[in-house]
């Protein structure tokens, strides 16, 4: 934490929902009374291209409008980015990184260029396929970001997300339960490592 609050950087590929996850995080934090910022960095937008999105969450008004270079938390939505993007660049030593991968923390650490802070892995594919029947990594990764950053309590997050999904998927209520299940499964998977 600094004067800009908690700063989070998302790495994903176009089409995976990293931007949507960042905007959802801003949304859910807003509902708990925080000052929020959620924004994507636009390059040549196309499916599969690396994209970055950002969050600032603070109890003070947020006035800075630049990208985030020294994040408290990095969320990697696509493991294959580890080969091509320097995801730990500027990441604080007392911060954390979450990677979407079936690998264990020990297996993934060699790919993190000597990063000394906390490392978490989450198998968002497995969770998403089990909960939703399809691969949408953004719900599990959003839950992981909340669990690790502790920007709000688990029950608070779950309640807000339920209301949010009920509003968002008013015309597709069949996907609400699966998305909620993905969130709780993610919290359960991370519980022992937090």
């Amino acid at each position: 934490m600094n004067s800009h609050g908690i700063e989070i950087r998302w790495h994903g590929r176009g089409g995976q929902g990293a931007k949507t996850a960042a905007l959802l995080l801003a949304d859910v934090c807003f509902k708990t009374g925080a000052y929020v910022q959620g924004f994507p960095e636009y390059g040549p937008e196309r499916m599969g291209a690396p994209i970055t999105a950002f969050n600032r969450i603070s109890d003070k008004e947020i006035r800075v409008h630049s990208n985030i270079y020294t994040p408290d938390l990095v969320v990697v939505v696509d493991e294959t980015l580890l080969d091509s993007v320097d995801v730990t660049a500027g990441l604080k030593e007392d911060g954390a990184i979450i990677i979407n991968t079936p690998k264990s923390v020990e297996e993934i650490i060699p790919s993190l260029k000597g990063y000394k802070g906390k490392v978490f892995t989450i198998d968002a594919r497995k969770i998403s396929v089990e909960a939703l029947g399809k691969y949408f990594p953004n719900s599990p990764m959003l839950a992981a970001a909340v669990a690790v950053s502790k920007v709000m309590e688990e029950h608070e997050f779950i309640n807000e997300m339920k209301a949010s999904y009920e509003h968002k998927f008013a015309k597709k209520p069949e996907v609400i339960e699966g998305n909620m299940k993905a969130l709780t499964m993610t919290f359960d998977a991370l519980r022992d490592s937090l």
Partner: protein
């Protein structure tokens, strides 16, 4: 009463447009402003407003149709960015010279080339001499508040000019942030009904709009237009006062942030002003006497007011998010320096070009600029009067 919410800058402007419910909106999509007509047409489809939306084939047509609708007596607007604004060039001048109080939601994006979709002010600055009022926003909140003030300014009898409400592409337009929204009815009451004095569909009082003018009269028309732009300054201030009385958020021609005792001031427009304010707070904690002058109204240009506001500082950094290719800075620098000269104020004024085509601008850049201003002032450091910030290659200064 106001409602706390969170939305992007585009969503905020579309929300304001829904509350105002103007008569006609012709529009053609272009990144990053596309969401504005998209959201407005959704509001219309959902029956939440009854503006006549006209999907046109180009921005040349969207501004032509906006002028046409306004001339017919309808409250009109459009939205665009970058090359879309460039394609409206001819009609921008027609809107202003025909004294059409229409509105344009401009989401600032760079002009080609290299072709790029990100923010700078080259589109708005390119249109600076078209006769439009131009108001810039730091945040989604200001874009929203400014838009609600647009018609009361433009339609005032002393003004009768078109108005451009600008926000930074992506940085503001696509970033979700906290916002306070006014009640629908309060916005409608504030903006009021449009009652044009003269209009084409008024069959009882036929007029011509946009006829040929011989040289004997054309120059007087321009002078009248120039006087209207001068008049708009007091109207902008009056409308801002009324807005503050009703909604609590106040505005001026520019905002002076911690400038009262400042030795060094950064003059800046748009979203980067927020970053500059944060940096000023950080530096103040270390004992630096620094401040920010955030320019809100670029047209009419408050040259004398700015000169007065800068008269007690030792050096100013004029931050330019465009390039004039004139060899010594951009339009802001030229106009601020002219104002200083006219008012006999001889302070150091360095022009810094930053943020072109979406290049990032951070608090660290602000620190370095204030350090340099201090060096220029105290140690007589010689620097070029026009410099670039955050280049990949080391600039030869």
């Amino acid at each position: 009463m106001s409602k706390k919410d969170r939305m992007s800058g585009n969503e905020a402007v579309a929300y304001a447009i829904r509350q105002i419910n103007p008569d006609v909106m012709p529009a053609f999509p272009i990144t990053p402003s596309t969401e504005i007509p998209q959201l407005v047409s959704t509001y219309i489809a959902n029956g939440e407003m009854d503006t006549e939306f006209i999907p046109v084939e180009s921005e040349h047509s969207s501004m032509s149709a906006t002028v046409g609708a306004e001339a017919a007596g309808a409250r009109s607007l459009t939205a665009t960015s970058s090359c879309g604004l460039a394609l409206m060039w001819e009609e921008l001048l027609i809107a202003a010279s025909n004294r059409m109080p229409c509105a344009l939601a401009l989401v600032n994006r760079t002009l080609s080339g290299p072709i790029n979709i990100n923010c700078d002010h080259s589109d708005g600055m390119g249109a600076r001499d078209t006769g439009w009022i131009q108001i810039y926003a730091e945040t989604n909140q200001e874009a929203y508040d400014n838009f609600i003030q647009a018609y009361p300014i433009a339609e005032d009898k002393r003004v009768h000019l078109p108005i451009m409400i600008c926000q930074d592409g992506f940085i503001t337009s696509h970033a979700v942030q906290n916002i306070e929204l006014n009640e629908d009815q309060d916005v409608k009451d504030f903006v009021g009904e449009y009652n044009p004095e003269e209009y084409l569909l008024n069959t009882g009082n036929p007029i011509a709009i946009g006829p040929y003018s011989i040289s004997n009269y054309a120059m007087e028309a321009r002078k009248a237009q120039e006087m209207a732009m001068e008049n708009s300054k007091e109207v902008i201030i009056e409308v801002a006062k009324k807005y503050k009385e009703k909604f609590g958020r106040g505005f001026e021609l520019f905002e002076e942030y911690r400038t009262a005792d400042a030795d060094y001031i950064m003059l800046i427009m748009g979203s980067a002003a927020g970053t500059a304010k944060q940096a000023v707070d950080d530096l103040r904690e270390k004992g630096y006497k620094v401040g920010v002058l955030k320019l809100r109204v670029f047209r009419p240009f408050p040259a004398d007011e700015i000169a007065k506001a800068l008269s007690n500082c030792k050096a100013v950094a004029i931050m330019e998010r465009t390039e004039s290719y004139n060899g010594h800075g951009g339009p802001l620098a030229s106009e601020v320096r002219a104002g200083l000269f006219e008012n006999g104020i001889n302070i150091k004024a360095v022009c810094y070009t930053y943020g072109l085509a979406g290049r990032d601008f951070t608090v660290e850049h602000v620190y370095s600029i204030f350090d340099e201003l201090k060096d220029v002032d105290l140690n007589n450091k010689k620097v070029k009067q026009h410099r670039y910030i955050n280049l990949r290659t080391k600039e030869e200064n």
